[in-house]
Symmetry: C2
Subunit: 242 residues, 2 copies
């Protein structure tokens, strides 16, 4: 598994204009006002990174935290025996790498599952701003909380029961209804296996089986279609198949 690392020169898109950010309402700076923004001096970089690229690795000193704007990122925790698990799937609007706020090392590795667009925020900004802005502090606490809840419910739902059920819950979680039909992105089978604690062949088989049951259709490398969200939901809750 070769893994590129970011080359900032190529990825750099300019400094962010956070004030005008399109996902600002869901991002870290949601509650900041003009005055708060005026206090930001260090540069917040706006990066685009291609799929399957490492952003940071576990144990590395945490200097930045990140907001994901577009795409998907996996957070990989590696165990003492060398095995690894995906402990969180970062979705647009989510913060990650918050260990930077604690002045610690990253407790997991982060890498891209798709092409992504993200903001990289130096920890110094938060430290200095945090002293003066209770609003930011509140927002940070909130984000930590969301991360924890996300992590725990992810953990509980994606890792309990038969794989087909777990996979169904996963698909419901990442699915996007664009108009009439719902589409769910897929990732490398290997990665999906790391999320649900099964081998990649098992993911492949589960997808095939669910397609046979009519729960999903149009399996391709990177996505599937969901003919009926209702059916899939029912399936994920009961596992009662035909």
């Amino acid at each position: 598994m070769t893994m590129k690392t970011i080359e900032i020169k190529n990825a750099w898109q300019g400094n962010s204009d956070c004030n005008a950010c399109t996902i600002r309402s869901s991002a870290l700076f949601a509650e900041l006002n003009e005055e708060d923004f005026s206090k930001i001096h260090s540069p917040i970089d706006d990066l685009r990174i291609e799929a399957n690229t490492g952003i940071y690795s576990q144990g590395e000193s945490a200097e930045y935290l990140f907001t994901l704007r577009e795409g998907f990122i996996k957070l990989l925790h590696l165990n003492s025996d060398g095995s690894e698990r995906i402990v969180r799937l970062v979705m647009p609007g989510d913060l990650f790498g918050m260990e930077a706020l604690l002045g610690e090392a990253y407790s997991h590795a982060a890498s891209t599952l798709s092409n992504v667009h993200l903001c990289r925020i130096p920890k110094a900004i938060i430290a200095s701003l945090g002293e003066e802005s209770p609003r930011l502090h509140r927002q940070i606490v909130k984000k930590w909380g969301e991360a924890l809840v996300q992590s725990e419910s992810w953990f509980s739902e994606i890792n309990t029961g038969r794989i087909e059920v777990r996979l169904a819950r996963f698909l419901l979680r990442v699915a996007k209804s664009s108009g009439d039909i719902a589409v769910a992105p897929l990732f490398k089978r290997e990665d999906m296996g790391l999320m649900m604690d099964v081998k990649f062949e098992t993911i492949s088989r589960a997808l095939a089986s669910m397609a046979e049951q009519g729960l999903i259709s149009n399996i391709s490398r990177l996505s599937i279609q969901i003919p009926s969200m209702e059916n899939l939901k029912k399936f994920s809750q009961a596992g009662l198949n035909a």
Copy 2:
């Protein structure tokens, strides 16, 4: 599974003297000074609760957060299909029920695995104190961070690989070396199964098998002994058995 709920009248031990708390260094109020303490007016209750008692349930409005002083507590997340998982094992010094700080409902249920001793802190205290004490804010952020890291590494280590290996990692995590021999507490097999996503019979078999291999000894309902931490550690990392 019958479950008592706290009866405060019986459990109440008096209001806490946080300033003199023995676990204060690791608890929420670690960094508060005299002045900060003087601002605390609402009562922080000091409770003792017996084993297998519910403290709060998922979805309940979060009015308090808790610090565990003694014993073990499980945080139970229940899925939409009714299945449930233990998402975190709370150990002495840990905070839980922090959803109260976000003004939300509890995202999981909490109940005792052993007799416990804990402090119950009304959310109002944090809200009012938080406005004025950046130290407390920093401490809260830190605690959130610890909870997240704990949750993720728990998730990754206790849920990856063969059960015997998972069980070994679990034991290492809860073991206490008192002098020469190390002892690890056990819980109801059912609960242990919910932590590692296996049936309770499987836990029972895994314990028996590990005893046969000499990795653990003196299996009883509530604890085991670990003859050699080294061996167990080696086992948990490689899974190479005899």
